[in-house]
């Protein structure tokens, strides 16, 4: 049985991720999903999104450009009431995301009419 089905292994970190509704439909997941990172791995936007895409390959190219891995222009990233969209993808995520108290939010930006 996988660690995710039992809850996180003691040496792994379980990161909560919330996707916008269209991507939940595409990936066939509920409101919130969890991805696990090894305890020694940095918890950054890049490592979390890499884990999300590894678990749900259909999301490759929908959040980040498939070739450059840059954030798609109308997708934004929030956590702990902060807009992380313009932060370095390799910057550490807030501790509350790392320890599972807060989710990492992928949001479709307000745009259009």
């Amino acid at each position: 049985m996988s660690a995710s089905a039992q809850g996180p292994a003691s040496d792994a970190r379980s990161i909560r991720v919330v996707l916008p509704v269209h991507l939940r439909t595409l990936a066939q997941v509920g409101t919130e999903l969890r991805v696990e990172l090894p305890a020694e791995a940095p918890v950054t936007q890049r490592t979390v999104l890499d884990a999300v895409e590894a678990r749900h390959p259909v999301l490759r190219g929908t959040i980040r450009d498939a070739k450059t891995a840059r954030r798609r222009p109308l997708v934004r990233f929030f956590a702990c009431e902060q807009d992380l969209s313009h932060e370095s993808p390799d910057a550490p995520l807030p501790e509350a995301v790392v320890d599972g108290r807060e989710p990492y939010l992928v949001v479709g930006s307000m745009a259009g009419g």
């Binding site: 916008p20 269209h22 991507l23 595409l26 259909v58 490759r60 190219g61 929908t62 959040i63 450009d65 498939a66 070739k67 798609r72 109308l74 997708v75 479709g108 930006s109 745009a111 259009g112």
Partner: protein
């Protein structure tokens, strides 16, 4: 007993509309992929239950969906569209050069002989090929070598929207790109040449006879005579009898030679259909009357078809990929509007009826005749 399946891509999802050969009672399923723009859906001629759908969003990019059961269920396949090498730059609206950047797929063209092979036309303009049912895609980069740096976007983007496969010669492919023109390969996509001789763009280009830069809206061909091409251009309806080497104008007595779709009758290769709209700045039918125009002489002489279509206060448009024919006898003609209606004629255009009235704006219509 034959059946008809209409594949409609709209601004907010995909719809599959089916009838038996009587074409009287239509059953609509959908929306599939609700809320997403579906630029195009098209089925394999070899395996009619295999349908490709271009699911696209300004927010979340491109998803290629495939159905292997006639549109009842769908599976996302490959969405990795990468240009070969350093793609360089092309002209932008402001005259500067911009890097080539993939945005979406406008058109799928499945192979007439191989159920796993399919071409895709992209924005920014490029032609991609998949040999494995859409799981992986590879660009045919020679196309961009034909003065690609001079191509610039049309109002809808710099899109490759038309792919005409020659059923008698797998190495001959014709494509069209908005505000770039028409191009042809005779070696399966390795080398390409512009096929824009005879096109004139006196109000849009400094050189009206330029080799590239013409705004081609759509090209159609009849399978029995694939080297006879019909083109709806930004202005002008054109015809070529030599696979695009030379074009001549056949706008004739049309009330406006501006429009987007052009289609050929299933059994009469000299019978063609267009939907004129008033101008490039007023994308609606002249006099608020929605009329399809038919020529039975391969262009030049046109008749207005209006029976069953709204003849007052109608201000919809019909987009380039939103017209198609079935292959029953008599031939059925179908088109979708930006107002969300899909109209069908069971008799080659003489009489029309709406088979759907309140869909989101229709982006594309394809029709399958299932035996």
């Amino acid at each position: 007993m034959s059946r008809i399946r209409v594949l409609a891509g709209t601004k907010k999802g995909a719809f599959v509309i089916e009838s038996d050969a009587s074409r009287k009672d239509w059953k609509i399923s959908g929306p599939h992929f609700a809320g997403w723009e579906i630029y195009h859906m098209k089925a394999s001629p070899v395996n009619p239950d295999r349908i490709y759908a271009s699911q696209t969003s300004s927010w979340f990019g491109q998803v290629v969906q495939r159905s292997d059961d006639g549109g009842r269920s769908w599976e996302p396949v490959g969405n990795a569209f990468g240009y070969v090498g350093d793609p360089g730059t092309h002209q932008h609206f402001d005259g500067t050069q911009r890097p080539w950047e993939f945005k979406r797929i406008w058109h799928f063209e499945p192979s007439p002989t191989d159920a796993d092979a399919v071409y895709a036309g992209a924005e920014d303009a490029a032609l991609f090929h998949s040999p494995d049912g859409g799981r992986t895609w590879a660009e045919l980069p020679g196309l961009r070598g034909v003065k690609g740096g001079l191509w610039q976007p049309g109002a809808g983007g710099m899109c490759l929207h038309t792919i005409v496969l020659n059923p008698n010669d797998a190495k001959r492919i014709v494509v069209a790109i908005s505000a770039a023109g028409a191009f042809r390969t005779d070696d399966g996509g390795t080398t390409w040449k512009p096929i824009n001789r005879g096109l004139k763009s006196q109000y849009e280009l400094p050189d009206p006879d330029a080799e590239v830069g013409h705004c081609v809206h759509h090209i159609a061909a009849h399978p029995s005579r694939p080297n006879v091409l019909f083109m709806q251009k930004h202005w002008d309806v054109m015809r070529s009898d030599d696979a695009g080497d030379l074009w001549r104008e056949v706008s004739g007595d049309l009330p406006s030679d501006f429009g987007f779709p052009i289609e050929v009758h299933a059994h009469e290769p000299e019978t063609i259909y267009v939907v004129p709209i008033k101008s490039d700045s007023e994308h609606f039918p002249p006099d608020g009357r929605l009329r399809v125009y038919r020529s039975r002489t391969g262009g030049g002489d046109w008749e207005a078809l209006e029976r069953g279509l709204p003849q007052s206060h109608c201000y919809v448009n019909v987009l380039r990929d939103a017209m198609a024919v079935d292959s029953l006898d008599p031939c059925g003609v179908y088109f979708g509007t930006t107002g969300g209606q899909i109209y069908m004629s069971p008799d080659g255009g003489d009489n029309w009826t709406a088979i759907a009235r309140d869909l989101p704006g229709v982006l594309s219509v394809e029709v399958q005749t299932l035996r």
